[in-house]
Amino acid sequence: MSAVAISSGGNEGELAFALAKDARRERWVMLALTIPGIFVVAGVLLSPVGWLIWQSLVDEGGHLTLHHYLTLFTEPKRLSYLLNTFLLSAEVTTICSLLAYPLAFALTTLSERLRKLCMFFVVVPLLTSVLVRTYAWLIILGRRGIVNNVLTNLGVINEPLDLVYNYFCTVLGMVHVMMPMMVLPLFAAMKSIDGDLARAASSLGATPSAAFRDVFLPLTLPGLFAGATLVFVLSLGYYVTPSILGGGKVIVWAIFLEQTVSFNTQWGPAAAAGLLLLAATVSALILARVVVGVKAHQPTL
């Protein structure tokens, strides 16, 4: 090869190729960094779920069947558990939304220092074990707890009320647990709204409440929706609080799952039930995504 040929055309092509190879290698190295994480997730998450999917579709003989799924829907008791779980979750989500919104809004109006103080009361519950939070309600609402003591001392009642181990207490406990998880994203969404928008609305003639209704509220709806979806999905699969505060009377899907596992040697029914829960959760998440994406407003002049 003559020196002329090397210095023109030929070498350029080689360089470009080598550069592309380098770039590719770099990308692979970066991707490789994620492998341990993927490995853990695949191993510890996907295999049990995969296993469950398999178990739910085979009967004792090892043949493929939809029997486990069908029994879920044909037994009225099971259907009622499903329904109750949805209702409970909906109730908890609604109450959380109604309470978290003013709470988050109030936080935005505070000075930096006060806000930090108030955040303490929102974040510390999140860091505290669910068991502690649930147990606290047993103390407050128990037969010899605060509420009953106060009411008895005031002479309002003679006999202590049964406030725990029922549906009401379960809802209360779950709202208590879920609230911080709704407040934080809501607050973040509210914080990100441009302060000038309120002033602009005001200068255009909007009273404070009109500005709130026309500008602030619509802009916080996505954040509210995101928080609500999170709470709803968590409530669907929640186990601890209903288990402790429900006293056996509130059977949510997660409790049903646990009982099925404890009492059955067959894993089929439990697996099917569990996957149904997963399907419900995923559907709710997808639905939420769709609603937010499709949220095109109708122009109203």
């Binding site: 000038d196 002033r199 500008v215 122009p299 002049l301």
Partner: protein, 357 residues
Amino acid sequence: MTQSITLRSVRKSYGRVVALDHIDLNIREGEFFTLLGPSGSGKTTLLMVVAGFIRADGGSLKFGNTEVIRMPPHRRDVGVVFQNYALFPHMTVAENIAYPLKLRHVPLTERRAKVDGALKLVRLDGLGHRDVQQLSGGQRQRVALARALVFEPRVLLMDEPLSALDRNLREQMQVELKRLHRSLKMTTIYVTHDQGEAMAMSDRVAVMNNGQIIQMGTPRDLYETPRSRFVAKFIGESNLIPVSVAGSVITAAGTTLRVSGHVDTDPSGCGLLVIRPERIQILDIHETTGLNRLIARMQDAIYRGDELAVYATLADGTEISVRCGVHHHRAMEEICRPGQQIAIAFHPEDCVVVKSA
């Protein structure tokens, strides 16, 4: 429908910081009035007080004959254009503009007509259905303007509306705004830190610093007869030559000078002579002239195509900059060699003396 704006002794403090120090202003009906100053001067605070977003500590604010200082912003009927536009992201362009009309219960057909009219006014016809996010900066600015004007407010307030735009767009918009003002004749308060912008657009300008109005007047007034060092330095470029005044005799570097403009000095009789770079002529050191004349030593001459920028120093070390127009280039090049002594000359009518402080 547009009204005059009168401020009497308006004041505002934050703790010990005085943001507005007894401001008095009379803004005439239909006037384009600019508040000019560096950041922290109080100009935006003043605008916010007029808009009603900031509650003044005291003083009076009238639109026409109506006292409005205690009125909340939504009842003042002011159109405000914010620096970052503050368009409602969840509404279309048309919905944004229609909003103030909706609040005033304007019926649908009339509303549509007014929105269309507003869009036409700012040259955005046909873009009503667009989402705010889809617009460029300049377009958003126009929507903000349309929204502020569509309900025919008493006054228009603009807080550095063009500062977020790039240079070319800014100059275009300046022309736009001037055109709009000429056709609508709406009383406007405009806030900016850009003195070129203020000069180009305003009927009158108030230069502010530290919560006070330092000087107020037409752009010409401020440029040709600044009354303080601050204004001289803030508006345009100026040379400040230390002088001492004894009676009617003004001396700088041993030379007697004549000043027909106003003369203001410190108690000690010292002052600064203000002369604009473009008003100075450069003469050969041997030339005689009837104008004011000072000797200077050449530092640098920079050819800029449309002008020759000359830098020289006086005997007392004061730096002088001169702008020579295109007609004198050739001659200047001979005279202006670095290190050479030259004479700078200027007309007594082109200079004023201000206090040193």
